[in-house]
Symmetry: C2
Subunit: 272 residues, 2 copies
DNA sequence: AAAAAGTGTATACGATGTAAACAGTATACC
DNA sequence: GGTATACTGTTTACATCGTATACACTTTTT
């Protein structure tokens, strides 16, 4: 694959800035145009990413090695490097690939409903692709599909009397909560799938041990919670853990609501 | 090091349950008693963990390999395995090691102040030990120092008219926010330290590229934020990014406050 | 003195990510 | 058409990783 050369390509693009992007990002944005010369590739970036995603869905992120991805496609390890410069770039593309969501419907001004839909759509990604949360986050989002989701959420806050910083802060708040909830939900789902007995469930495995280690003198406030089984989640008789997380989300939304109530017009705010 | 045998050791401990803990957790809780037989070890778990932490502080988590940790102590790679069963266990111990915080002072009933102190104490760990956020979280917290922090926060909520589930949900909310903020603050701090020019700062590197890629048709709501430089953090003229994150935290606290206001006594709540 | 348990070391193995050199093939230009 | 060029997938090679195993040695218990 040939990369674009310096100069202007007619779209008013400044190549120098684009050149700084990680290779994976360049691929995601379609900035790498296929050349006409040479044999047509039998492989493609999409095929590789799809194979890697399938592999990770089945065996986890640790199972994604360049050699295994290549083998699952019937090629040699090194052939992948003709399309994707490094494994980090492959991970970026996997990330973006599963971030291609069907965005939630607009709820016609009901921003709370839209924020709930946003959070749960994000959580669903973690559950459907358990490896998603294992990919290290190394910078602000720069991949096209991720930015699509951010854009959607900003649309929800379109009419909020807030400045840009405030909106971004709320977005950060929601996405950080999504991430945490997504990770826990994922672990729950995986334990259900893997363990025949529900006792193999995440903290439950350690519950008995903690009941012996967490002494009332050292951990006066945690002690009753561990002993009642709440800490390790023993009392979750339903398989829908979701209820618990709705709680935190509603607190966040209450906080946003409260802020909007006390803030009728956009002001300077946030020290800029 | 000899591990305890099955049976009762006089403290009323059921060994079977403790045996299920990861090796790192057993070491953290002091469940592995040194034996008297054989030569005294020149190494120790503490020395190894301290060396690993020092290495990670200097060169990042990727630089922590068993061989490098051993070399920094003047021993061979395999000598470490006499003390710590696997690298995962070492990571657990590193995690717990830097979680040994001096807990914030009690603010005498001002729970908002205590929650702020909690969040910022957690964030500080990410900043002081940039690798902290790179350690994968694989279960609910089970290490002694981490539980100490949880206990402290539960102490803050001591008098809240909430049930255990609700308190744990609030804790989850706060710690998830801490984590996100910690990660971002960490990246900021690292960029400041590494890059001579402030342009090397995290998103800033990509800012110019995003301004070309984020088109108003596809990203109508994100577009103005990218163009103004807010998205990539161009407008942060201060080195204290903290201001931005205080905002989200205050929203969370508002949400908690609001919930307390509407809830004067503990009820059934949360479907249990 | 012998047995037992624990020490640090040396060697070895299979994976990993990827650099480098290679022969083959399809296109672009003379 | 021929030929240079650019791209293909492969082969080989290397350093590094985590860790299993076997070893010789040292200290304590019996």
């Amino acid at each position: 694959m040939e990369q674009m050369r310096d100069g202007n390509n007619g779209d008013g693009l400044n190549e120098e800035a684009l050149e700084k992007l990680p290779n994976g990002a360049k691929l995601g944005w379609g900035l790498v145009k296929p050349s006409t010369r040479g044999p047509k590739g039998e492989l493609s970036v999409k095929k590789i990413v799809d194979a890697a995603v399938a592999l990770a869905d089945r065996d986890g992120l640790a199972a994604v090695s360049m050699s295994r991805v290549a083998a699952s496609l019937g090629f040699t390890t090194m052939s992948l490097y003709r399309y994707i410069a490094s494994k980090d770039d492959l991970l970026m593309l996997m990330y973006d690939s599963v971030s291609e969501l069907e965005l939630p419907e607009r709820k016609d001004g009901d921003w709370r409903a839209e924020m709930r839909a946003y959070v749960w759509a994000c959580v669903e990604v973690f559950v459907k692709h358990p490896w998603f949360g294992d990919i290290p986050v190394t910078s602000i989002p720069i991949m096209p599909n991720t930015l699509k989701i951010i854009d959607w959420m900003l649309g929800t806050m379109r009419t909020f009397p807030l400045n840009e910083h405030e909106k971004m802060s709320i977005l950060l708040l929601l996405s950080s909560y999504s991430r945490s909830v997504g990770l826990i939900n994922r672990d729950f789902g995986q334990a259900l799938k893997a363990g025949a007995n529900p006792d193999t469930f995440n903290g439950l495995e350690y519950s008995a041990a903690l009941k012996q280690l967490v002494k009332p003198d050292s951990y006066p406030h945690l002690y009753p919670i561990v002993m009642s089984g709440t800490y390790a989640g023993e009392n979750e008789q339903t398989s829908t853990v979701g209820d618990d997380f709705d709680f935190g989300l509603e607190r966040i939304l209450d906080g946003v609501q409260h802020y909007l109530d006390t803030r009728k017009a956009p002001g300077p705010g946030l020290g800029q």
